[in-house]
Every structure is written in structure tokens, then in C-alpha cells.
């Protein structure tokens, strides 16, 4: 082993606790980055895969841009194109399966109902011709279905059994006439039935929503020419190829990935601070050793490599452990959220470790450690040999750089100026400048803040002088105190920042919730807000509910998908839009929108009029830069239709989705949709509640796609669900806050080690164990107060940046709420951490054997 490695190993071995703490800092940073890296890409990958699977195997898949149905006669236009070998029209519809629909133990949460022409479809799907049991569909079949063996297994059915399915006509039973080999695709299992039957069950006579075609040529150029011809035939309201829906969601995922990576980087930066701090102390502590080495002939390069080798060892070990733990973290999060993801989106998650992730983690982990060790190493190389000849004295009153303070102050100034402009890129840039500025200014703040708190402590620990001693210990090493405080600061800033964002989000959501979903009863489909997969009910259900004695008002939502082209929309210039059909008379009686522009009265009156009027929600208005009075061309199955915006308003279910509200009459006329996907019911004053509820239950029993819930119950359920989504986030915050605990612990431990002789002297001249203990704890409190103060400040700024960022990205629209409770919690946590961190070193210091301490080198 060479000298550097021997010395590194021995020094690390000799200071096990400190080596452990420093390495832990690297471990946690790497762990967060690696863990997130394992989880998030697997999530996006799974999502993309299921999208790909949905786009099928045919050469060309044609859908309407809106995703909605179109007349079956469109197939003729496609068939008119030369070069198409075979083309078929089909109906494909995701059907969300209500819980317990197939029994308690069933894991089936969604199915794709596929209606095909029995005679033609096998030309496109070879597997249809080779059922493992029974037969494929044939002309004239009625309520029969073909499913895969795997689905049959999971439903527990055999050939010739029946399987039930929720449809717009209520529950229907289909006889299984054939079993197909399992498909290799992810996504929902399919139930294949005759096209005519599907059109009937889904209430879409004469309509299809997908055309699949195989081309008679193989040359790439020829294929492209044919695709162009099809496009020319159909016009620009059709999409060729895979589905474009979901891309919006992918965007949101990528945003989340960026945010998580940012958090990981901040954590690593925090780790960097801890390491930097440790190495500075190491160098200060070993001035004598280093000076001696220089005196006996070590050159600067040797000293630098000595310090860096030690960093390297810790970086390598820390990174290795961090990657291991990070993998476990990733797997843990995957397992924890897997169930939810499966039921909500039919996505199976498997953690993936991509080689680039490993490389990046190693580079970051080892790199940050080496980088953090570099400055101290350079400063070590400047230790003069003469230092070795001087008697040992721990350093007094380090100086801090005034230039640094100045630069920091300027950066904070710029950050605040950026905040005032309200222009997001500047606000975001300001966030980082604010943090860096605080880090730079911190050393200058140590003395005044320590003095301030010192006075408080002096009151607490009166007469013993321990408060003053603690204060003195801090102020003579302002840079080191500041670095520790900075590490705490970054940790708490992340917590307060992210917490503030969630607070704003929750506040906005819950406020909207009580305003827009305040009815007595709700009929809820399996998936709310992502309406696409929901199977509604025809108008007769609404009529049935209305006729129940005691029911006062019934309001329903209907859904259609559309898209809007506008130069203002970022990226493709096109956005997918949820069109919700409301009854302009009934809806305001029972529910409501939170209007940002316009009034409820005028807006609903305008919707009731026999014109194309719409209310758009906030996120759509912001994303497409829409104003009241604008005309927007919505893509409909009947072509583009211009709607006039009469107001801007949001409700909770659709707050994060581009939504346009139109009258149900217009939805029927333009989108051919008349099924209700969501109901709100209010009882009349003085109604017999028990009786009404009994009736409701009875009626809903025939429509298992809906769940009847009480309004208040639903609010509670919603908020619980909301919280459960965020639990993972809170856990992550905890993981992030942990390093700040270590930062304080680390500095204090180092401070104790460094002052061993002094402490021995204090004890020798009569300080009690208790006094020594208090000195250390007081010092910790001071450090924690400093870090917490700055951290809360920076956190508030960051939370504002996050909120603005999400608003600007168009994923969420929300008002900034000041996280008062979060600030209090962070302050409490910061101070408690401070004391916790002090316990170990304080114990160590107070238990020190006096003689040993005095002899300590």
C-alpha cells in the first residue's frame, strides 16, 4: 500500500465516528439520486410501453384527433386509397372496472372492450385465427366474446361460461366462445366482441373510433406516400399512427423527474458542505502533522494527494453504500406505490437500473467528495513547514472573506429583484441565487446572530458562563459555523420549500373541493377526472334518479375529448382538452365553478342560450393564453366548431386538466355524446333521507360502474386519498432532512474532538461535567437557530419558486399560500435536531478523562 492510502486508512480508522459521519453524508446524497433514478424512469418507461401497446400492431392506426368516435363510413374513404391491402373499422374502449365487480379477490381493474368485424379483423390480427380453445367470432354473433387465456384465468372463467361487463345499457353478460393465446403486450386485457354488439353496448350506433389498415407494399418511400394519401383523404382532424394522448402526462412525469433530480442534487450539495466542513477541520487539526511532513520533505503535491486520497476513500465507500441503499429505496418506493399505479393506470412497475444512472451516481458521489476536499487540500498544501515547529494552539478567530459576503449580498439583491418581476425564469434563477447568496453571506451573519442568541442563552444558563463559551466557540470559527448552518439551511430549505408547495396545492384543492362538490350525494365512476375510460349511463338513469321521491336536484357531467390548436400553446401548438357537458340550469343549483373571470349568473345563462358558448378552466386559459370573448376552434367528430369563451372558471375534479365546459345540448350535437359519467344529487327540503337513500342504492345497483357516496363522506375520502399520495413525498422529505441532522452532529463532534485539550483544561480548572455538557448543547442550539432561520427564509423563497414553476408549466394552477404551520414545524424540527445532534458529542465531551484529554494530540 502506498503512503497516501496508508495514511488515509489510518486517519479514517483513528476517527471512526467522524469518518462514518462524513461518509454518511455521501451515502445519503447518492442514495436519493440513485433511488429516484431507479424509480422514475421505470415509471415513465412502463407508461410509454402501455401507450405503445395501445397503438397495436397494424401498419397504420387511424384515430380521431379528439380520440372520439366517427362515422363508420369514414372507412370507405380509407379504402379508396390505392395500396391499402386491408382495412377494418373497430371500436375500442377502455372500461374501468369498479372494485369488487369480479369478486373481492379480483385484480382486474380495467378492460378494453374491442368491437371488430368478425369477417375482416383476422386479416389484420393473425392471432385471431388461432384460438387455443373454441372459435373466433363469426357473422351474426350476439352477446358473445373472445378473451385471452390469461384474462380467463384471472376472471376464473372457462370456455362457454359467461362474463359480465358494465356498459351504458347496465350490466350485460357475454358468453365466451373462444380463448386466444396470451398477448405479449402490457396494458389492459381485451374483451373482443362483434362490432355491431359493441356499438349497441357503448351507445354509439353506426360509429367507430379506430381504423386499422395494413399496406400492400413494403418500401419505406411507398409506405410514406400512402400514408400521405390517407391523410389527404381524411383531413387534418385525424391522427395516423399511435395515440398522442398521454403525452401530456409524460410531460408532467418529466417535470417531476427534473424536480426530484434537483432535490437529489441539493442533497448532494448538502453532503458536499458536510464533507467540505470535515476536511477543513481535518486540515486545521492536522496542521502540525502536515507542517512536519513538509519539513521532512513532502512537497505540495504530496500533501494535496494525501488529503484527496482520504476524500477518495470516503467518496468511493460512500457512493458504493449509497448506490446499494438507493436501489433499496427505489425498490421500496416502487413497491409502495405499485398497487396505486396499477389500479389507477394499469401500469406494472419494475425498478430498472440503467448503466448511465450508475455512472452518473458514481461520478456525482465521488466527484462531489473530491471537489469538497479540494479547497481544504489546497489550503493544506499551503501550510508552511514552520507550523510544525510552533507549539500546538487551536486557531483563534478565523477571518472570512469580505468579497464573499459582498457577492452574496448582491446575489440576494438580484434574487429579490427577480422575484419582484414575477417572470418565471428570473424567479427560478433567483431561487438558486438566493440559496448561494445566503451560503456566502452566512459567515458574516454568524457573529451578530450568535451574539443575539447568546444573550438569550445567557439568560437561560445564567452565571455559569457556558452560554458565553458556546457563543465564543462559534464566533471564533465563523466560516465553519456558517458551513454547518448552510448544510442545515439547504436541508430545511428543501423541506420548507416542498412543504410550502404542497400546502399551497392542498389549500387550493380543498377550497375548490368544498365549493364545487358540496352536494348531498355523488355517483362516482371508477376514475374521476380522467374520464376517458369511464363508462357512463344513458339519459334514462338521470330520469330514474330524478323520479325518486325526495330528490330535489340532479346534475350530471358528460364527457368528450377534443383538441385545440393555438400558437400560444407550448410545444406542438396543440393541446388535448376535456370537454365537459353540463346542464346550465341544474348544474349551478348543486355545484359550481370558482370563477376567475366573469360571473356565474352570466356564464351559465350564456351556456343555456342556443349558441356555442364555453367556460374554460384556469389551466387551459393560461396554457393557451385565452381571454373572455375569444373564439376557440374545438376539434369535434363533425369538424372544427368555434366556441366563444364566456368566462374562466375551475372546479376541483378537472383543475389539473385542460377543460372546456359546454352545454349538454351542444355536446350531443357536436360530439355525439349523451352519456352521463358523473352525477350530483341534492335532496329536496324535508325529504325522507332514509327512503331516498334506499331508492338511490337500489337504482345504482344496476349500474356498478358508479359508486354512491355521501357528499361529506366523499370529501373526507378525497382528502384522505390526497394525503396518501403525498405520504411518499413526506417520506422523501424526511430522507432529505436527515442529512441536516448529520451536518450539525458532524460539526459538533468535530468541534469536540478539536477542542479535546481545551475541554480537558476546563475540566482540570474545575468545570463540572454538566457545564461542559451545557456548553456543547448551547453551541448546537446556536448553530441550529442560525441554520433554521436561514433555511426557513430560503425555503419560503423556494416554495414560491416551485408554485410559480408548476403554474408556469401548466401542470397545476394554484394560489400561493403562506405555509405558516410549515414554518413553525420546520423551526421546531430544526431546533430539536440541533439538540439531538448535540447529545452525542456533548456526552463525549463531558465524559472525557481529564488526563487523556490534556495529553491529546
Amino acid at each position: 500500500m502506498n503512503l497516501q492510502l496508508t495514511l488515509a486508512a489510518r486517519y479514517l480508522g483513528g476517527r471512526k465516528l467522524r469518518a462514518f459521519l462524513t461518509t454518511l453524508a455521501v451515502v445519503i446524497g447518492v442514495m436519493v439520486i440513485f433511488g429516484m433514478g431507479v424509480y422514475l424512469p421505470s415509471f415513465t418507461a412502463a407508461f410509454e410501453k402501455s401507450l405503445l401497446a395501445a397503438s397495436g400492431q397494424a401498419d397504420v392506426v387511424i384515430t380521431h384527433k379528439t380520440g372520439e368516435s366517427f362515422a363508420a363510413t369514414m372507412l370507405n374513404r380509407v379504402r379508396a386509397v390505392n395500396g391499402i391491402a386491408v382495412s377494418v373499422g373497430a371500436v375500442e374502449r377502455i372500461i374501468n372496472i369498479p372494485p369488487n365487480f369480479y369478486g373481492k379477490n379480483s385484480t382486474v381493474t380495467g378492460l378494453t372492450l374491442v368491437g371488430v368485424e368478425p369477417a375482416v379483423a383476422p386479416y389484420l390480427h393473425a392471432d385471431y385465427t388461432t384460438p387455443t380453445q373454441g372459435r373466433f367470432l363469426k357473422q351474426g354473433d350476439g352477446n358473445v366474446a373472445v378473451i385471452s387465456e390469461r384474462l380467463a384465468d384471472s376472471l376464473g372463467v372457462k370456455l362457454n361460461d359467461t362474463v359480465k361487463l358494465p356498459t351504458t345499457q347496465g350490466v350485460v353478460k357475454l358468453t365466451i366462445v373462444g380463448l386466444l393465446p396470451g398477448r405479449a403486450l402490457t396494458g389492459n386485457e381485451q374483451i373482443i366482441i362483434p362490432l355491431a354488439q359493441a356499438q349497441k353496448l357503448l351507445d354509439m350506433p353506426g360509429r367507430i373510433n379506430v381504423i386499422e389498415a395494413n399496406l400492400g407494399v413494403t418500401g419505406e418511400a411507398e409506405r410514406r406516400a400512402i400514408v400521405e394519401q390517407i391523410k389527404a383523404q381524411l383531413g387534418n382532424t385525424y391522427t395516423l399512427g399511435g395515440l398522442s394522448s398521454g403525452s401530456e402526462f409524460l410531460g408532467a412525469m418529466q417535470m417531476a423527474e427534473v424536480i426530484f433530480n434537483m432535490l437529489g442534487l441539493l442533497t448532494l450539495a448538502m453532503g458536499g458542505f458536510i464533507i467540505f466542513n470535515t476536511f477543513r477541520t481535518i486540515v486545521a487539526e492536522r496542521r502540525h502533522d502536515i507542517g512536519m511532513l513538509r519539513a521532512i520533505g513532502a512537497n505540495r503535491a504530496t500533501i494535496i494527494s494525501l488529503v484527496l486520497t482520504e476524500g477518495l476513500v470516503q467518496g468511493v465507500v460512500g457512493t458504493a453504500i449509497g448506490i446499494g441503499l438507493g436501489y433499496l429505496l427505489g425498490v421500496g418506493i416502487t413497491a409502495g406505490t405499485g398497487a396505486v399505479m396499477k389500479s389507477v393506470m394499469n401500469i406494472e412497475l419494475t425498478p430498472v437500473v440503467e448503466p448511465p444512472l450508475v455512472v452518473v451516481s458514481i461520478l456525482l458521489g465521488v466527484g462531489v467528495t473530491l471537489f469538497a476536499g479540494l479547497l481544504p487540500a489546497l489550503s493544506a498544501s499551503r501550510v508552511t513547514p514552520i507550523e510544525a515547529l510552533r507549539p500546538a494552539l487551536s486557531q483563534v478567530a478565523q477571518r472570512f472573506s469580505r468579497i464573499g459576503t459582498l457577492v452574496g449580498a448582491v446575489m440576494i439583491g438580484i434574487a429579490i429583484a427577480g422575484l419582484l418581476t414575477g417572470f418565471f425564469p428570473l424567479v427560478a434563477l433567483g431561487g438558486f441565487m438566493f440559496l448561494i447568496g445566503l451560503v456566502l453571506v452566512a459567515p458574516a451573519l454568524v457573529r451578530p446572530i450568535a451574539n443575539l442568541f447568546g444573550m438569550l442563552l445567557a439568560l437561560l444558563f445564567a452565571r455559569e458562563g457556558t452560554g458565553e463559551l458556546a457563543q465564543g466557540n462559534l464566533t471564533r470559527q465563523p466560516s465553519r459555523a456558517a458551513i454547518t448552518a448552510s448544510a442545515t439551511m439547504i436541508g430545511l430549505a428543501i423541506v420548507v420549500g416542498a412543504g410550502g408547495m404542497m400546502f399551497s396545492l392542498t389549500g387550493t384543492v380543498m377550497q375548490l373541493f368544498s365549493k364545487t362538490l358540496g352536494s348531498d350525494y355523488l355517483l362516482v365512476p371508477p376514475s374521476i377526472a380522467i374520464w376517458k375510460g369511464d363508462v357512463g349511463a344513458s339519459e334514462s338513469l338521470k330520469a330514474k334518479i330524478s323520479s325518486i321521491p325526495g330528490v330535489g336536484v340532479v346534475s350530471s357531467l358528460r364527457y368528450a375529448q377534443s383538441s385545440l390548436q393555438s400558437a400560444a400553446i407550448k410545444g406542438s401548438g396543440e393541446a388535448t382538452i376535456s370537454v365537459l357537458g353540463i346542464d346550465p340550469v341544474e348544474y349551478p343549483k348543486i355545484s359550481g365553478l370558482d370563477f376567475q373571470k366573469g360571473t356565474a349568473q352570466d356564464a351559465f345563462a350564456a351556456l343555456a342560450a342556443d349558441e356555442r358558448n364555453t367556460i374554460v378552466n384556469g389551466i387551459l386559459a393560461a396554457g393557451a393564453n385565452l381571454k373572455v370573448g375569444d373564439l376557440i376552434p374545438l376539434a369535434t367528430p363533425t369538424g372544427l366548431q368555434e366556441y366563444r369563451i364566456v368566462a374562466i372558471g375551475s372546479e376541483v375534479l378537472s383543475m389539473k386538466i385542460n377543460t372546456a365546459y359546454i352545454s349538454q345540448a351542444n355536446l350531443k350535437a357536436d360530439f355525439h355524446k349523451s352519456e352521463d359519467v358523473f352525477y350530483q344529487v341534492n335532496l329536496a327540503p324535508g325529504a325522507d333521507v332514509a327512503l331516498a337513500e334506499q331508492w338511490l342504492n337500489q337504482i345504482v345497483a344496476d349500474y356498478p360502474q358508479f359508486r354512491l357516496v355521501g357528499g361529506r363522506e366523499y370529501t373526507a375520502e378525497f382528502s384522505a386519498q390526497y394525503d396518501s399520495i403525498f405520504i411518499g413525498f413526506y417520506v422523501l422529505l424526511g430522507v432529505l432532512a436527515f442529512p441536516s441532522l448529520i451536518a450539525i452532529l458532524n460539526t459538533l463532534a468535530i468541534g469536540v474532538i478539536e477542542r479535546t485539550r481545551e475541554i480537558g483544561m476546563l475540566r482540570a480548572i474545575g468545570a463540572t461535567r454538566r457545564q461542559v455538557w451545557r456548553t456543547i448543547v448551547a453551541e448546537a442550539l446556536l448553530l441550529a437557530a442560525l441554520g433554521t432561520g436561514l433555511g426557513v427564509l430560503a425555503g419560503l423563497y423556494l416554495s414560491y419558486v416551485f408554485v410559480e414553476g408548476l403554474n408556469a408549466s401548466g401542470i397545476y394552477k394554484m394560489a400561493y399560500a403562506f405555509p405558516g404551520a410549515g414554518v413553525l414545524a420546520a423551526t421546531a424540527v430544526g431546533l430539536i435536531f440541533g439538540v439531538l445532534a448535540a447529545l452525542l458529542p456533548a456526552r463525549q465531551a463531558s465524559q472525557m478523562e481529564i488526563i487523556k484529554a490534556l495529553r491529546y494530540e
Binding site: 500500500m1 502506498n2 503512503l3 496508508t6 495514511l7 489510518r10 486517519y11 480508522g13 483513528g14 502540525h288 502533522d289 507542517g291 512536519m292 511532513l293 513538509r294 519539513a295 521532512i296 520533505g297 513532502a298 512537497n299 505540495r300 503535491a301 504530496t302 508552511t384 513547514p385 514552520i386 510544525a388 515547529l389 507549539p391 500546538a392 495529553r855 494530540e857
Partner: protein
């Protein structure tokens, strides 16, 4: 030809009104095999002289020559190498690395010079044995007495076979008996092994072990005499 030779060696700390002339035109020559004690009141410039001779610091004016090579021309790396190969230091506070054993501490200069670890340790144990620490090779500094620690430091200074040993108050931290032993050892270094030894001391009794006593005051050499006892 002398082993070391200084010419008008001057060191001024600070500038302007607060400037302190720690060394003022010192001319000194020391030969191989000579054991010189430097004495004088506190602050007279003894340590400063040693620092300049050992290339630890650079003079304000004047020059230091070791084996006719002027130090002024050497880069930091070259000076490091010179300290590694030609000069051995012994400090008042021993300055052993607490986490290394006696052998490892003594072998340090060789290891720094890139020598093979086994050879370096072999050489170090030879020297430790020669100066009477053969039994204590594996012990760490905190398991040794002060006198023993200083012996390890001397072994460390000798291990590279340097031509010059510089010792700044090597007995300052020792009791009388250990101090005498160390002084004897340094004398042996000069006499038996033929090195030039320059030792700063406050203790006249320790100085009597030397061949030659250099007396300093206010940065200047005021007396340079053969040791009477030694001559006799």
C-alpha cells in the same frame, strides 16, 4: 569547504514601522561531523536561523549554501526534495503522526521519497535499534514516553542519511535525564555517523555536550567558541 555556509543572512518580518529584524547579517559555517549548539535569549533569532538553514523559509537578503549549492535558486519542490534527502529535522514537540507506529513514523521520509515500503521500514527499524528503541518498533506515540518519542523523531531525521541535522530545542519538553540522553545521542550522530548537527537550546548544561557554542543576541552572532569542556 564547509558543509553549510551563510553569507550576510538577514530576515526581516513585516514592513514599515512594525518591521522586525529577526536575523541581521549572519555569517556562519558548519562542517561535517560538527555538533553546534545555538544559544541566546528568547526572541534573538535562533529558530529563524534554523528555519532558513533548513530551507523552511526564505531569507530577506543574504544566502544559504549547502554543499556549495545556494538554496535561493531552488523551487518549492526542489527544496522539499532537499529537505527529504539532505536535512533531518528534530522538533521540540516531536511531531510524530499519532496514528502511525514508531517504525512507520521513522520511515516517513523514505516513503515520501517514493521508496519501497518494506525497505523503508527495514531501514527505519535499523535506525531505531541503533538508538535503542529496538523493543518499541510497533508502538504508537501515545504508548511511548516523551524521551522515547524524541528518539523516534531522531531516527526519522536520520533515516534518509542526511548530511545535516537541525534540532530546535529538542530537549525543551524533556526531564533532565532524558534531555541528557538525547543530547548524547545527537553528539553520537555527529561523531559516530559524521553528520553536521545544529541544535538550539536554552539549557547551558545541554549545550556543554556540543563541540561549539554559538551565542546570539538581537539577530546577530555575538560569540562563536569551541566548547571548553570538549577541548579538555
Amino acid at each position: 569547504m564547509s558543509l553549510i555556509q551563510t553569507e550576510n543572512l538577514t530576515k526581516v518580518y513585516g514592513a514599515g514601522e512594525t518591521a522586525i529584524t529577526a536575523l541581521n547579517c549572519v555569517n556562519l559555517q558548519v562542517n561535517a561531523g560538527e555538533f553546534v549548539a545555538v544559544m541566546g535569549p528568547s526572541g534573538c533569532g535562533k529558530s529563524t536561523l534554523l528555519h532558513l538553514l533548513g530551507g523552511l523559509d526564505r531569507p530577506t537578503s543574504g544566502s544559504v549554501m549547502i554543499q556549495d549549492h545556494p538554496l535561493a535558486k531552488l523551487s518549492d519542490d526542489a527544496l522539499s526534495q532537499l529537505r527529504r534527502r539532505k536535512i533531518g529535522f528534530v522538533f521540540q514537540f516531536f511531531n510524530l503522526i499519532p496514528i502511525l507506529s514508531s517504525v512507520e513514523n521513522a520511515a516517513l521520509p523514505l516513503l515520501l521519497d517514493g521508496k519501497n515500503s518494506a525497505q523503508a521500514k527495514h531501514k527505519a527499524s535499523e535506525w531505531l535499534t541503533k538508538i535503542g528503541l529496538g523493543e518499541r518498533l510497533k508502538n504508537r506515540p501515545d504508548q511511548l514516553s516523551a524521551g522515547q518519542q524524541q528518539r523516534v523523531a531522531i531516527a526519522r531525521a536520520l533515516v534518509t542519511e542526511p548530511v545535516l541535522i537541525l534540532a530546535d530545542e529538542p530537549t525543551g519538553n524533556l526531564d533532565t535525564k532524558s534531555a541528557d540522553e538525547i543530547a548524547d545521542l545527537l553528539k553520537q550522530v555527529a561523531k559516530t555517523w559524521g553528520r553536521a548537527v545544529l541544535m538550539v537550546t536554552h539549557d547551558p548544561r545541554i549545550a556543554t555536550h556540543a563541540d561549539r557554542i554559538v551565542l546570539m543576541r538581537d539577530g546577530q552572532i555575538v560569540e562563536d567558541k569551541r566548547n571548553a569542556k570538549d577541548e579538555g
